[in-house]
């Protein structure tokens, strides 16, 4: 047998299976000293009793986290870095979704805004993708990590100036890269469009953010790394490797370039945005509700199965492409194996909020995170099924895939980030959100808007796929039938964009010093009262 990269991939599948068996066996035998007490780590790292906790509207909950030894976990320098990242992320979200909506309108009004090259479909769509993936989700996810990692580890952020510098570089790279794309200068590969010259800056920025987070983890004051920490630390290692390997210019050519392209593009979702989102949900759900997750040991299976099986799934985007059939098959198999970690996460997270529905209804941040977690399960199940050849032959190259991508990146990651922002910012500033009606409006606009968006694209995409497979129908027919569904998507997208404006206005207002402040410390109710 000849040893190729393909062989390596095949061996990695076999090793992953064995590793999973060993892990489950070890957990069953209690070899790993891991039990439900560890799920309470989040309530112990921070001197703050377990209990319903929603700082978005209740001033008494807006205290900045205090460590066990009385240390302020978020001194000014760290607070500045977090707020900078969250603010920039929101800016990119607003600009990115304006471009997204523009691209959506162009699909059913093709002549609209066609006179100026930067506003043509190819560039607007690409700017949308890069802004929301690298600007909004990455900057927002890292911003939350800058808050969560010190909080779960019970110590202040190390090297906060370096983190701020990293944040500045990262955002300059996003701004420069997207401007370049708008002017027609791109690397020409999906998800890798930002010119490599800006990628260097982006990679340096990411590194400057990762180092302080890892240094903080090293100085942790807790006896146990909570599951959020595993996801975050995994992501901090995986993403820089992915990003640098995939972006080295001239290294990958031909069919191999396509394979690397989708290896990267799918791993950005699965090994970067997913751990950022799942990690945040694993903290925010129990923290806001005030009760631990269902089974702490199960969370270990969820994390390791993601780590073991995710990295090869991207090649299912090349079903029918000019790479060996069995490599694609392997990727299909790995995609379906993702049912295991997803079910593990679902068992842990959903009973918690579904069993505490009064908290769910009382807290907007919790609602965002819980629905985000639910849509993670949905998006992952859907993704595993879409990887199967039988379903892929209908959905590939249709709007159905676009609907799925947004179910993951918006329904899951963005909703969790919204919830995280609504929870974190009041605790950093000691003020509740000034216009809570805007927060409620944001929730309803994006959930209703996204429901319209997703249902339209899924139905339209499926019909489009069936029309393309039908040799009796002209290709044009497969496009014409999608017009009502694309119009529906634009309506949903408009609602989502309005929601983002509500979100941004509230953020600007709270940053500008508005919003009810917490009572002075002496007058505040003591914990446990």
């Amino acid at each position: 047998m000849v040893f190729t990269i393909g062989t390596l991939v095949l061996v990695s599948f076999a090793v992953s299976l064995m590793a999973l068996v060993v892990l489950i066996w070890a957990i069953s035998r209690s070899d790993l000293q891991l039990d439900q007490h560890d799920a309470d780590t989040i309530f112990e790292a921070e001197a703050r009793p377990a209990g319903f906790d929603d700082p978005s509207e209740r001033t008494e909950d807006t205290r900045s986290p205090i460590g066990i030894g009385g240390e302020d976990l978020h001194p000014a320098a760290s607070r500045q870095a977090v707020l900078f990242m969250l603010g920039m992320a929101t800016l990119w979200l607003v600009i990115g979704s304006v471009f997204g909506l523009m691209a959506s309108f162009k699909l059913h009004m093709p002549d609209w805004l066609n006179d100026w090259a930067p506003l043509t479909f190819g560039r607007v769509r690409t700017m949308h993708l890069n802004l929301v993936a690298y600007g909004w989700a990455t900057a927002g996810g890292v911003g939350l990590a800058l808050w969560l990692i010190p909080t779960i580890f019970g110590t202040h952020l190390r090297l906060p100036r370096l983190a701020l510098l990293g944040g500045v570089l990262l955002n300059i790279a996003v701004a420069g890269g997207v401007t370049a794309i708008g002017s027609g200068w791109t690397d020409g590969l999906e998800w890798l469009e930002i010119p490599w010259q800006f990628d260097i800056l982006f990679a340096i920025g990411a590194l400057c953010l990762v180092v302080p987070l890892l240094a903080t983890a090293r100085h942790r004051q807790v006896h146990h790394i909570y599951v959020t920490g595993w996801y975050y630390l995994g992501a901090m290692i995986w993403f820089p490797v992915l990003f640098v390997v995939a972006n080295i210019p001239g290294l990958h050519v031909g069919a191999q370039q396509a394979a690397v392209n989708w290896w990267f593009a799918h791993n950005v979702l699965g090994l970067w945005l997913t751990p950022l989102g799942v990690g945040a949900a694993y903290y925010l759900l129990p923290r806001i509700i005030g009760k631990p997750i269902y089974s702490y040991r199960l969370s270990l299976v969820g994390f390791w199965a993601l780590a073991l099986f995710y990295s090869q799934v991207g090649i299912h985007h090349l079903i029918g492409g000019p790479i060996p059939t069995w490599v694609v098959t392997l990727s299909v198999v790995q995609s379906v194996m993702m049912f295991i970690p997803v079910i593990a996460v679902a068992i842990n997270q959903h009973p918690l909020w579904m069993g505490n529905l009064s908290a769910f209804r009382a807290s907007v941040p919790l609602r965002f995170v819980a629905i985000g977690a639910l849509l993670y399960t949905a998006a992952s199940f859907q993704g595993s099924l879409e990887a199967l050849r039988s379903m892929n032959s209908v959905t590939h190259f249709t709007h159905y895939t676009v609907g799925h991508a947004h179910l993951g990146a918006y329904g899951f990651v963005s909703l969790v980030l919204f919830g995280g922002f609504y929870y974190v910012v009041p605790r950093l500033l000691g003020r509740v959100w000034p216009m809570s009606w805007l927060m409620h409006a944001h929730f309803w606009l994006v959930t209703v808007g996204f429901a319209i968006y997703f249902v339209s694209l899924s139905i339209g995409g499926w019909l489009q796929g069936q029309a393309m497979l039908d040799p009796a129908r002209d290709f044009l027919a497969s496009m014409e039938l999608t017009i009502p569904y694309l119009t529906g998507r634009s309506i949903g997208g408009t609602l989502m964009l309005l929601g983002h404006f509500a979100f941004a206005i509230n953020l600007v207002a709270i940053l500008a010093g508005r919003g009810a402040e917490r009572m002075p410390l002496a007058a505040a109710p003591q914990p446990g009262e």
Binding site: Y296, T325, T329, M337, I340, I343, S358
Partner: protein
Amino acid sequence: MSGKNEHPEDFGTGARDLQEHFEPHELKNPIPWPLIAIAATLAIWGGATLLFDARATTTGRDALLAQGRPEMTPSLVETAAQEGDAAAARSAALYDSYCATCHQTNGAGVRGAVPPLDGSEYVLADAALPVSILLRGLSGPIVVDGEVYDARMPTWHATLGDEEIAGIVTHVRGAWSNDAGPVSAEQVAATRAALSAELDRPWAGGAELFDAFGEFSETMADDQPEEPRAQ
């Protein structure tokens, strides 16, 4: 847990009971057995799928082994070039650029999508048959080696000249386990002339080929699916 669970809104006893009763207290919640069962099922399914799909790529290799040739041969282009046969090298190169994307360099095709050329009755039949498939392309169901394929093969008459088509067909008929005779450019030109009225219309699957070329293989007549003639 402390008793700080009073919320501004109350949603009735149902919600209150849920809220008070759901709290995982077990120290060692086991991993639920259904999850382990699902994991085992998926692992078995995954292994079987890999094994099953690998069939698509071993045909050509098995044929090489059966001929006593080593498993890893130099590419067909390299072999032909080493043997000093410039025409054969050019034909192999043409096959690599026009045909191998779908039919694969080992001629095994892709399971369920692209028919194999290695051992195909159509390739080994009278040379006019493979030549006319290249000229007109194919669109419709066709049975090759007992499997039904239904896909579109491009029409090549406008892209490839007689010389080139003759080279490709000669190459395919002599490659892997195939051992049918060569085709000349004159033969291709004759077939092209005979088909001149219909060059732009692809063959409507195996049934039409069978009608046009008669019984070129004994096993084939019964194999062809019932096919609605699209004319």
